[in-house]
């Protein structure tokens, strides 16, 4: 439904978007994820019509929209600051776009009532934006941008101003609303948890290029580069040289440490430098030496206790730290492992992922 074709955007000599192509499908909840300054907001502003690409095409439903001004696009945006009109009531904020369309009065009030119901704001229709709370303002902004039933809704860091608990609730509300309305949502965020929770597909961006576009689980379990593996979630990354052994690779990564065995479909030439990424929840930790594909010995130097899980930083003899996570299934304030314990960490050959770059 949306197609970016070799889009480049320059601000002076700074390249914000670098020859980028991307397809976003109908009824999708698509997330643009990346650190600040990676170009994700520029992508969104080009979709809304506030910026024009320096080169390339942007298509919406097969029609080129580069020269269409923002007020003529079937695209609406929910702003990071919400941008509610302070001089208008909640009702009039939501009705604003419908009035510009020249919709009949009774149709406007029906549509506004529908939006108020959808966002559970019926009681606040006559209030001004400064008379309601932050979470309510966020819902007004959402209702206003959905009122015109756009083909595409853009959300710029929509939950950034909410506190953690409210943010989590609102994420599920957003998903509900997206399903109910069947609108295509594109969300911009730097919060990887948010992107993973709400989106059906995620694009990880860095310095104006797409690093990987895939479903959240693919991005998490099968990152295609060190950058993506490191940006999404917790990970330990080791560098070494791989040698093919049957259907597995053996990675020589440090003197005095056994090689790491890993299954991978990747083609890596003998002697090429490659990387190995292992997530802490896939690493087990034991007092006695276990039997497994990969077993390493070390010492606990740090413990992060989060209630439901604990993360152990285990330092090996060569100084490398491996992170291991344990679920605290027993209700006990006494931890099984403590500082300076000598422990074993282990994982199978399918747990980690080999990366070429």
């Amino acid at each position: 439904m949306i197609r970016f074709e070799n889009v480049t955007k320059r601000f002076g000599s700074f390249v914000a978007i670098d020859n980028l192509s991307l397809d976003i499908y109908e009824r999708e909840f698509f997330a643009l994820l990346g650190p600040s300054g990676c170009g994700k907001t520029t992508m969104m502003r080009m979709l809304a019509g506030f910026e024009n690409p320096s080169e390339g095409n942007i298509e919406l439903d097969g029609a080129d929209i580069v020269d269409v001004p923002p007020n003529k696009r079937a695209v609406n945006m929910m702003f990071q600051s919400y941008a509610l009109f302070p001089h208008l009531s909640v009702h009039d904020n939501i009705a604003f776009g419908l009035k510009r369309e020249g919709m009949a009065k009774d149709k406007i009030s029906a549509r506004v009532a529908e939006m108020l119901r959808l966002t559970r704001l019926e009681k606040f229709a006559s209030r001004k934006p400064h008379q309601i709370s932050g979470g309510q303002r966020q819902r007004v902004a959402l209702a206003r941008s959905l009122a015109k039933a756009p083909k595409l809704l853009l959300l710029d860091e929509p939950l950034g101003a909410l506190d953690k608990k409210l943010r989590e609730e609102t994420q599920f509300e957003l998903m509900d609303i997206q399903e109910k309305t069947g609108t295509t949502f594109v969300i911009v965020t730097h919060d990887q948890e948010e992107a993973m929770t709400v989106a059906s597909r995620v694009a990880v961006m860095d310095a104006g290029v797409l690093k990987q576009v895939a479903t959240p689980s693919q991005i998490y379990e099968n990152p295609n580069s060190r950058y993506v593996a490191d940006f999404i979630g917790d990970v330990t990354i080791l560098e070494g040289r791989a040698r093919k052994e049957g259907n597995r690779y053996e990675l020589a990564w440090a003197d005095g440490q056994p090689p790491i065995v890993a299954q991978s479909a990747l083609e890596i030439g003998p002697g090429d430098t490659c990387y190995y990424a292992i997530r802490p929840e896939k690493v087990e930790i034991h007092h006695d030496k276990p039997e497994d594909d990969n077993v390493l010995q070390g010492k606990v130097i740090d413990i992060g206790y989060l209630g439901n899980i604990s993360t152990y930083h285990v330092q090996l003899a060569n100084g490398q730290t491996i992170r291991a996570q344990n679920f605290n299934t027993e209700r006990s304030t006494q931890q099984a492992f403590t500082w300076d314990d000598t422990v074993w960490v282990n994982w199978t050959d399918r747990c980690g992922i080999l990366l070429a770059n």
């Binding site: 007020n71 609406n76 941008a83 510009r100 400064h130």
Partner: protein, 274 residues
């Protein structure tokens, strides 16, 4: 309320005395029975009565009000437009020069502005009268308006305009329906400032007014040269009263809306917590 220290008390008293004693004396003498300004001969309001009969003063007041109204209105429109252009158009070539030039008349001596305008009117053959007065006052009041409005626009959230355009407004509609209502308090106070500046002005008016368009300040100044009359005192007292009421009203209105807004926000936070 905290008690004030002795030193603060004295400093405050001295400061206010310095500012207000001349005006208090003027007000007191406007109620003087005697025709001699410096001799107190009992309380009377007769000079207010005779002022109302003085056609020359009434004419001058009418001229002044009309000039102030038209010049401040035109200055508000032009000044707002200039401020908007300077803040919104980003960094165009010569922007610093333009913004410097719009503030220059603020520090330019009135005599020079007046003289320059006089030369202009003579060279294009415009007869001096109400029109030239309005033009002259518009010129210098405009930069005050643009200072007030641009300082408001500087803190204006640009995404409000973008939201308006996103919801179907052209750039002009976005300005009319969203920007203007939000910056209206700044525009109104710019207008009030321009209005009082025009009421006050003597120097520029004396260069650009004609025989048919004597303003109140010019009239007061020229009659004082023939001697201070109790009528002038009465007139000045009325002007002080008008300005005081205006300033008080403006500050009350803005204070009340601020207090109400804070109360509303506090209520919203409480509702959230409940």
């Amino acid at each position: 309320m905290r008690r004030m220290s002795g030193f603060n008390m004295i400093a405050l008293t001295l400061g206010f005395a310095f500012l207000y004693i001349p005006m208090v004396i003027l007000v007191i003498y406007s109620f003087n029975e005697s025709k001699l300004v410096t001799v107190w001969a009992g309380f009377s309001t007769k000079w207010y009565g005779s002022l109302a009969q003085n056609q020359q003063f009434l004419d001058a007041a009418w001229v002044t009000l009309r000039v102030a109204f038209f010049s401040s209105t035109i200055a508000t429109v032009l000044g707002t437009m200039a401020a908007y252009a300077l803040i919104r158009s980003g960094r165009f070539l010569g922007r610093t020069l333009f913004s410097g030039m719009i503030y220059a008349p603020l520090v330019m001596p009135d005599v020079i502005t007046g003289l320059a305008l006089l030369l202009l009117f003579i060279s294009i053959g415009l007869d001096r009268g109400i029109l030239t007065l309005v033009l002259a006052h518009t010129t210098f009041a405009m930069c005050y308006v643009s200072v007030v409005v641009s300082s408001r626009l500087m803190t204006f959230d640009l995404s409000l305009e973008e939201a308006a355009r996103d919801l179907g407004c052209t750039a002009a509609e976005a300005f009319r329906l969203v920007t203007l209502p939000i910056i209206a308090p700044a525009v109104i106070s710019g207008w009030l400032l321009a209005f009082t500046l025009s009421l006050d002005d003597l120097v520029i008016a004396s260069f650009t007014s004609g025989p048919s368009s004597t303003t109140l300040p010019i009239k007061i100044f020229s009659s004082v040269r023939l001697g201070v009359s109790p009528e002038i005192n009465a007139l000045s007292t009325i002007m002080i009263g008008i300005v005081a009421v205006g300033v008080l009203a403006a500050s009350l209105v803005s204070k009340r809306s601020l207090v109400k807004r804070q109360a509303d926000e506090a209520a919203a936070v409480r509702a959230e917590a409940a």
